[in-house]
Structures are given as C-alpha cells and as structure tokens.
C-alpha cells in the first residue's frame, strides 16, 4: 500500500515538475509480482524504490516516474507489458524483466525499439553470446556464473565424488553444466527432477544409497525450501556437505532457518558482504522494509544507482543512454563489490561462497571464499559487440 502511495506521489511530483522543466525520466519496472515467485519480484521493486527514495525521487537529477508491471512469470504477459512500457508510457529505460524465459520473449521488441533494458534477475546464455544487444544489459549475472563458482569452489576444496541435482528445465541443465565446467572430479550421478515437485523423498533415498562426498543442487524458491527441509529431516544435514546456487538465499532463509545450517551457497551478493555501500544499503533496507535484503533486492538497488549515473552522463539524450549505461557500469559503487559490464553487457564481477551458520541463537550467513575475481562468462567471446 505504502509503495503504491509512494509511486503515486512520485507520479504527481513528476507531473508537477514536468510542467516546469522539460526533462523527466520514466522508468518501467517489470517483475513477477504475483504467483509463487512474487517474493523475488517484490524484492527487486523494493530495492529499486529504496535507491530512488535515497536520491530524492530523482535519477540523474531528473524527476523520475516509475511504472510497475507484473509479468506473472509468463512470456506472453511480459511481452505485452514491455510493449505497453515502450509505446504507451514512453519509458526511457525498462528495469527488471523477470526470469530468462520472459526476458528472451521480449527481446525482439526491446532490440527493435532501442530502449535501454536492464535485467535484474537474468542473464541467459544466448543473450550473453551470439545474440548480445547494445541496449540490453544484465545487472544480475550471466546465468551460469554462480554455478561455475560453486564448481570451482568444490574443485579447490578437493572434493572427489559429487552428486548433482536440479529441476528438469533449461536453467537446471545450465546450472549443472556450469558446475561441471570448473569441477573436474567424479560426478557420481546427475539427477533431474520435475519442475515444482513438492516431495523429494524418493530422490533423497537414491542419494543416500550412492554415498557421495558432497551434493550440489539448484532448487530456486519453494522447491529449495522443500528440498533442504526434507534433506535435513532425512538426517543428512551435517553428514553430507551441501553446495547450492539460488536455493538458500535471502528469500528462502527465513523459511528454512536451522534446516539450512552448513549449506554453502554460490552467488555474487549476500547481505553479509562487508563493504561501506552494502552496510549502508542493508541498514536502509532493514529500516524501511523490516527484513534483510536478498540478492534480488540488491540488483534492483544497483540498477537504480546505475541509472542515476547513466542518465546524468547522457544529459537527456535518449540515443546516448545505452552507451552511458555501459560506461556507468565501471563507475557504479555496487553493493556487491567490484562491478563492470563486459563486452556482451553481462556483469564482470566477483563470485563468492557463503556458508549458513549458527551464531548464538540466530542463523546467519558468512563469507567463506571468493572462487572468482572479476569473472568473465564463457559466452562473451561469441558476442560481436565492440
């Protein structure tokens, strides 16, 4: 409610301002805001709006209107929303763009329009490779990055026999492929489960029988909550080291608590990262929303700060905005640490390993390693952008 009121106020403020000054920015925010992944979308919106508020409702000195759209995690709804943001709202930039499948569904319209698009939750491999676009950026990650980092981490720790599990869809396969790109030990088995399967008892029994040294999984959202809880109930926590990506994160940890203790997660951000920008962000986010920010909130927050720099650089010329965004990447003081855009407009950033641990009565995450520094994704070489 409050946010809606905030957006409305901003909108009014902008209308008033636009009468006086010619330049005002309109930013489209598209994310899954209903359905099982609504939490992920809401965090991106909340992170973005927090940064906007810190800049006094202006980005790059221009009063900014935010238009929110819900893509419902459906590519066809996402396409309509993108079309509306471009044609009707005349958005200067579109932020969010949901999951990879929704982003890829809207890619044709985005490319044709030339409007700057900043994805805060996806970096699909085609977009990172041969289909890279000058006006489409990822503020989040190239999809394989976190899994590659976990593969490297497992390799560095000298794990001999690892068991891999993921849901049976493109992202699941990409994650396991990313892990295997840097892990050179024995893969005991590779198991794909149904998407949104609620119960993993059968797979967990098979896993127990295989007796691996460690387990690597990718189970986003509710799937991860179910899987980690059930693994814990089967008595495997503590006995079988669990490495994961997008499974135990800021959105699922409140539902997992003790069940997640000991789990190692790969990613480019966690609220526990120790740098001045992040400390300021976490304090402000917790004060405003009464919860810790997830990595999705961090990408939304970074995207707003990035646009603040880029809009100032472009000086009100929409044609210069894409170039300005790319340059702004290396100037941005991201909450995740070092950041820049690679030649394919994907992030070049560090990937960390976080471990969930018990600290007194609380469950916290702490940094246990940095498998990659300034990691460039493997698809960048296929991109023909200068």
């Amino acid at each position: 409610m409050f946010q809606r009121a905030l957006v409305a106020t901003l909108y009014c403020a902008t209308l008033a301002a636009s009468a006086a000054t010619a330049s005002a920015a309109t930013i489209g925010l598209m994310a899954p805001l209903s359905g099982p992944q609504a939490l992920v979308g809401q965090d991106q919106v909340d992170g973005f709006l927090l940064a906007l508020e810190q800049h006094g409702g202006k980005l790059g000195g221009q009063p900014t209107t935010v238009v929110k759209e819900d893509d419902q995690l459906r590519p066809e709804i996402g396409q309509q929303a993108v079309r509306k943001l471009i044609d009707k709202d005349k958005a200067d930039a579109i932020v969010g763009l949901s999951f990879s499948n929704v982003l890829m569904g809207s890619l044709a319209r985005l490319t044709e329009s030339g409007v700057v698009a900043i994805a805060t939750n996806a970096g699909p491999s085609p977009l990172a490779g041969a289909q890279c676009k000058p006006n489409v950026f990822s503020m989040a990650w190239q999809n394989d990055g976190a899994a590659e980092a976990m593969g490297k981490f497992a390799q560095d720790r000298g794990l001999k026999r690892v068991y891999l599990m993921a849901p049976n869809y493109q992202a699941g396969k990409d994650m396991l492929a990313g892990f295997k790109r840097f892990y050179k030990g024995q893969v005991v088995d590779e198991v794909y489960t149904q998407v949104n399967q609620p119960d993993y008892s059968a797979e967990i029994a098979q896993l127990q029988a295989a007796r691996p040294d460690a387990l690597f999984v990718f189970y986003p959202g509710g799937m991860g909550i179910n899987f980690v809880k059930q693994l814990n109930q089967a008595g495997l926590s503590g006995k079988l080291p669990l490495y994961s990506v997008f499974t135990v994160d800021g959105t699922t940890l409140p539902s997992l608590r003790e069940a997640a203790v000991g789990v190692v997660s790969g990613g480019m951000y966690d609220a526990s990262l120790d740098n001045p920008e992040n400390r300021r962000f976490v304090a402000a986010f917790e004060a405003k929303y009464k919860r810790a920010p997830s990595l999705y909130a961090a990408t939304g927050y970074d995207a707003a700060n990035l646009l603040d720099i880029a809009l100032r650089k472009a000086g009100g010329d929409p044609k210069k905005l894409a170039v300005a965004v790319k340059a702004a990447g290396s100037e941005l003081r991201s909450v995740r640490g070092p950041f820049a855009f690679g030649r394919n407009n994907m992030p070049v950033q560090d990937y960390y390993a976080f471990e969930t641990a018990r600290d007194g009565g609380k469950v916290v995450t702490r940094l246990v390693g940095t498998p990659f520094k300034a990691h460039v994704d493997p698809y960048a070489a296929q991109c023909t952008l200068p």
Partner: protein
C-alpha cells in the same frame, strides 16, 4: 539396488499415498454423494496448512496446530457449504467448476494478502525430529508419523462408513439421495456434514504436510490434481477405493521417479535418458489413470450401486 533401498522407496510411496488419501477421502465423498466437483478442496488443504503452522508457531505444540487446522478447515468448509456450495448442487458440473475455481483464486490471493508471498516456516515437532535407522539407512521419524496418522484415519473412516448410522446414511445417500430424503432424512444437513468432514480431513493433510513442504499461497493446486487422479482410479464415491488408489498412485509415482530414468539409461544415450526420464516419470500416474479409464471406466474399486 539393494533391498533396504527398495524398502525405503516403498515407505516413501506409502507416505505419499496416505497423504493423498486424506485429501481424496473428502473429495470422493463430495463428488460421489453430491455429484459436486470441488476444485476448492486444495484451498481447504492450504487453509489447514496455514492454520496448523500459525497455531503451532504461536503455541509451540504440534497437537494444538493439528486441532486448529481441523477446526479452521471444518469451519470454513461448513461456511462454504452453506453459503455457496449448497446452492450449486442442482446446477451443471460446469457451474461447479467455475464457482470453485473462483474460490481457489480468492483463497490464494487472500492468503497472500494476509501472510505475504513468503512461505511460512514450520519446524518438525521435537519428538519426531529424529531419524529411524533402517539397516544402515536413515528414514525420517516424522514421515513414519504421517503414515501412522493416515492409516488411523483410513481405519476410522471405514468404521464410520460401515458400522455407524451416519455411515449407513452416507452410503444410502450415495446410491439414491431422493429416496433417502423421502424417508425423512434431512439430506441437506447430511450433505453439509459430509462436506465439513471432507474439509476437515483436507485440513489435517495440510497441517501434516506443513513441516515437510513449504506452506505458501497456491500449495493446494498441484496436490489437488493428483487427488483427482486418485479418485478417478479408485472409483468416484468410494472411500475404500480412494484408499487403495492413493496407495497405488503414491507407490507408482515414487517408483516411477526412481526407476524410469534408470531403465531409460540402459536403453538410450545418457543425455536423452536424463531429459526423458523425469518427464516420463511425471506422466506415470496419468498414464495409469488413462489405462484404468480405458479398461474399467467405473474405477478399480467402485462404490457398489443399488
């Protein structure tokens, strides 16, 4: 594949089966006796899960959670029956589907407004948080408890239906509602009672599932579809049919998930087997249902009709 692993997998199938039975029992009675298609049954399961999780969280006692889930699901089930469902019995099945699908969306959104999209955390009760050692294999005690509760409900419902006066009326109502009502039985009251009890069982299933699954908006729909498969296989209106069919579906689904990918790996290339295995496994119960419908359209264990 060792024998203990097979035993563990059969237990998993059994546990999934009894959970499905708790849902299917209510659904099959409402469908069979009142000829009412209730898609909102999954919402009652979700309501049970939320009521159980919240009461358990507040009181610290899992038993209180279960009782709260039963009370909440029973109360909401009765309210739904009196206000909406009872007006629709004489209408077409399409109207039932439209109205109850609307209820599904209403309840999912209501839950999201009240408690947000974040899944609620439910701890396994301390007494059951350990594991049981099955010849070197650890199996969750809590899952054993689910099996026990499911079997108790199955025995209880069999006694209720076959040994009591109410049960006799339920059986009679399933066969010929007009005649039962002509004999002076308040069929409206009977229907409401039946709907309420079905809702209560769904609530129990939800509360029992809470510590294993994530309690969140929309959790009822996937399980509702499997429950519909169960009642079709078991024979609509037959509680004992629902019981056997739930166990069959539970075991087929579990073993399918385990063995189909393994078998396919023997037959084809690894990459094809990895992609096709889970897809085929997710189809296994529907294939079973299609086979049952082709060979025995009335279901495997139909209620006897006069």
């Amino acid at each position: 594949m060792s024998l203990t692993l097979l035993v563990a997998q059969l237990l998993n199938g059994l546990q999934y089966g009894v959970l499905l039975f708790l849902l299917a029992a209510g659904l099959t009675l409402v469908f069979g006796v009142m000829s009412f298609v209730n898609l909102a049954h999954g919402s009652l399961y979700m309501i049970g899960a939320y009521a159980g999780a919240l009461a358990y969280g507040a009181s610290g006692s899992f038993a209180v959670g279960i009782l709260a889930a039963m009370a909440a699901a029973l109360a909401i089930g009765l309210v739904l029956e009196v206000t909406i469902v009872s007006r629709l019995y004489r209408r077409d099945h399409l109207d039932h589907v439209l109205a109850t699908f609307g209820l599904v969306m209403f309840f999912n959104e209501l839950v999201r407004i009240l408690w947000g999209p974040q899944p609620i955390f439910v701890q396994v009760p301390d007494v059951l948080s350990g594991t049981v050692d099955l010849f070197g294999f650890t199996y969750s005690s809590y899952r054993f408890a689910i099996i026990a509760v499911g079997l108790v409900v199955a025995v209880g419902s069999r006694l209720l239906i076959h040994k009591t006066r109410i049960g006799m009326l339920i059986r009679a109502g399933a066969q010929n509602p007009q005649l039962v009502s002509a004999l002076g039985v308040n069929i409206g009251l009977l229907n409401a009672l039946l709907f309420g009890v079905g809702a209560m069982l769904a609530g129990v299933a939800g509360a029992m599932a809470g510590p294993v699954l994530s309690v969140q908006s929309g959790m009822g729909e996937p399980v509702l579809i499997t429950t519909l498969v169960v009642i079709v296989i078991g024979g609509i209106g037959s509680v004992s049919g629902a019981f056997y069919a739930a166990l069959i579906v539970g075991v087929v689904d579990t073993l399918g998930r385990v063995f189909l990918p393994l078998i396919l790996r023997q037959l084809t290339e690894r990459s094809i087997a990895d992609a096709a295995g889970p897809a085929l496994a997710s189809m296994s119960v529907y294939v079973l249902m299609a086979a049952v419908l082709a060979l025995r359209p009335q279901g495997l264990f139909p209620a006897r009709r006069g």
